[in-house]
Amino acid sequence: MKATAEQIKKVNFFSLLTDQQCANIAEMVEIVECAADEKLLTEGEFGDKMVLVFRGQVEVTKDFTIRSKDGFEVSQKAIIRLETTDPEPASGPKTEATVPIVRSPAFGLGEFSLVLDQAIRTAHTVATTPVQYGVLTLKDFKQITDKDPAIAGPVYFEVAKNAVNSLAKASEDIKNLTQAFFFALLRG
């Protein structure tokens, strides 16, 4: 089943597009379903597919190397949960959330794939409820923008906005980690 223009418009990256432009994208997006616990994206992998979640909840986690009783180990830490509101997930999450849940009508993951054909995944994404999602490949998106170049501007503006926000946060994280590093050197 193909996605509809309304479903595409609910994803923030495409919210500035016209109905017709959304319909053009929707034609390229096939809706699939997956069960809870299924992994949608894997950190460290490369990909050229953006995932558009139309219904359900996912958890975003990252790998961290931390010190434990038995030495160093890689631990997966949840960062955030994303949930659709229109429609809401078909059932409650399989596990209780330990991190904040951000709700929006629908959302996109791996948007850097619309920029690079080998974009690195910066986090794991796992379904916590049954999820309905579609995949938009860079190749398909390029095809759409070749036909209608006006689509590219608003979409890349949203992608750039997200990238800038992430960069600002990453810069603060680096500052905090540097601070902690020097602090630990002095106190250790």
């Binding site: 990252k62 961290f64 931390i66 010190r67 830490k77 960062i79 991190v99 946060k169 603060e172 994280d173 500052k175 905090n176 980690l177 601070q179 902690a180 602090f183 630990a184 002095l186 106190r187 250790g188």
Partner: protein, 472 residues
């Protein structure tokens, strides 16, 4: 020390004991239970009702508070337990030894046993219980049956242990009452004061030096340094010892400085300095003071506040490490420099005499002083500062004290960046035993190179003659 935070349901201020951090507390207004956050604001605990001055409330109220406070103590609990034990013992004897006790009371009263009522017998068993419990043991009556003797033995043994417990509780109750009945110090008056904990001959010398320092300054009404002495010396002896120090505002607080209640009374969290010396008060002249309690006292102070600067005087160098770990800022070791001084009398004659002269506070000749860096010379070089003091005051700049600023990592990170990263940083550092904040500390820079850069954190250690100091 107490913790204050807002109720998550109705936002009313909830104040709980410091020990409650991480446990659940109930809001008095809405009744909602909430976890006391570890980051709740530390506040000074309200003194218990007994310690509040009676003038702040009606006498009736004060009495009510006092009664309630007494009821809450272990003293009342154990007394009630004693009464219960005596009653149970009496009832046991009443049931198992009725005939024996009825016969005995008939004999005592000179009546026939048939005339004896159950009440007479019960009162007699009660009498036996009290005589046994108090270990008086008149022997006028005793259980006769095996069962009676068996219960009698249990009662005797339990009363023996109970009596030990009760005497301990009575003693601690009396100590507590004695402590609470001391004068409560005026919280508005005592701020940035100095506490001298413990008493020995050196305390008078310390006060003498402080008095001499003060006499060089102009008199400011109400501006005398506030000093609280904590020791167990008799009040009149302390009064005699300090009566000549008219430039110091000295208050005596009776008690041991290892006790948290005494430290709280001395308003230690508002104090600027606290000097701890080996305590001779309350000891026989031949008994040495126990220095081992000083690290414990440092721990006790640090559990209440990090703000006070702690200076400990000890003679046992083995305690030095413990004191540092407990959070003592400065440690003065008796006779630490004696071997150096003696050796220097041989190797470098004149050096010890010079050190003695410049190290004396309020001496007539030269003396060491700590002087702020003149604002114009901030970010200048050591050579410039040296020349400034030499040319203007003929004073010799020996070096600097540098206040290394403290830092709190959690404050430093604030709310920036990813909360998960911040949480991981704090968790990982804590697991590695690294404290998340470093306190301010003083470092010395003696005779640095000419091009040493001075900053606003530097204070100058200057050898001045008193003559030059006056002109400065």
């Amino acid at each position: 020390m107490a913790l204050r935070y807002s109720c998550p349901s109705c936002e009313m201020d909830i104040t709980v004991l410091y020990l409650e951090a991480g446990r659940k507390a109930k809001c008095k207004k809405c009744g909602a239970e909430s976890l006391v956050p570890p980051g709740a604001t530390k506040v000074r605990a309200q003194p218990p009702p007994l310690a509040r001055p009676a003038t702040s409330m009606g006498e009736g109220h004060a009495l009510g508070h006092r009664l309630r406070e007494i009821i809450k103590t272990g003293f009342v609990k154990y007394t009630a337990g004693t009464v219960a034990l005596v009653l149970v013992a009496s009832l046991l004897m009443f049931f198992f030894e009725y005939d024996n006790y009825a016969g005995s009371v008939a004999g005592h009263l000179g009546k026939d046993q048939s005339e004896i009522t159950a009440l007479d017998t019960f009162l007699h068993t009660l009498w036996w219980s009290l005589v046994t419990f108090t270990t008086v043991g008149y022997g006028d009556i005793s259980p006769a049956s095996h069962l009676g003797k068996f219960f009698g033995a249990i009662i005797m043994l339990s009363s023996f242990f109970w009596a030990i417990l009760l005497s301990g509780v009575v003693a601690s109750f009396l100590v507590e009452v004695a402590l609470r009945e001391d004068d409560t110090l005026d919280q508005n008056k005592f701020k940035e004061h100095t506490i001298i904990a413990g008493w020995n001959l050196m305390v008078e010398d310390i006060l003498k030096v402080m008095q001499t320092e003060e006499s060089t300054k102009p008199v400011v009404i109400g501006g005398a340094p506030l000093i609280i002495l904590i020791n167990e010396m008799p009040r009149d002896e302390i009064k005699r010892a300090v009566e000549n120090f008219d430039r110091l505002d000295i208050t005596h607080l009776s008690g041991r400085y290892t006790q948290e209640v005494v430290l709280e009374k001395a308003i230690v969290d508002q104090a600027e300095n606290m000097i701890m010396v080996p305590d001779r008060s309350g000891l026989a002249p031949e008994d040495p003071p126990d220095e081992n309690v000083i690290p414990l006292a440092v721990f006790a102070v640090r559990s209440l506040t990090d703000n006070v600067r702690l200076i400990a005087h000890i003679s046992n160098s083995e305690l030095k490490e413990q004191l540092v770990q407990a959070g003592c800022d400065e440690i003065v070791l008796t006779d630490e420099h004696t071997p150096d001084i003696i050796t220097n009398h041989i190797l470098n004659p004149g050096v010890p005499q010079m050190v003695e002269q410049i190290g004396a506070v309020g001496g007539d000749g030269h003396r060491l002083e700590i002087v702020d860096l003149p604002p114009l010379l901030i970010d200048s070089t050591h050579l410039n500062v040296f020349s400034y003091f030499k040319e203007n005051f003929s004073a010799l700049l020996l070096g600097y004290t540098v206040q290394a600023s403290g830092f709190d990592l959690e404050d430093g990170m604030g709310e920036t960046g990813d909360p998960l990263i911040r949480q991981m940083i704090t968790e990982q550092l804590q697991q590695s035993g690294i404290k998340l904040s470093s306190e301010e500390k003083m470092e010395l820079e003696i005779n640095p190179s000419d091009d040493y850069q001075v900053s606003a954190k530097n204070r100058c250690v200057v050898l001045m003659s008193n003559r030059n100091a006056e002109s400065a």
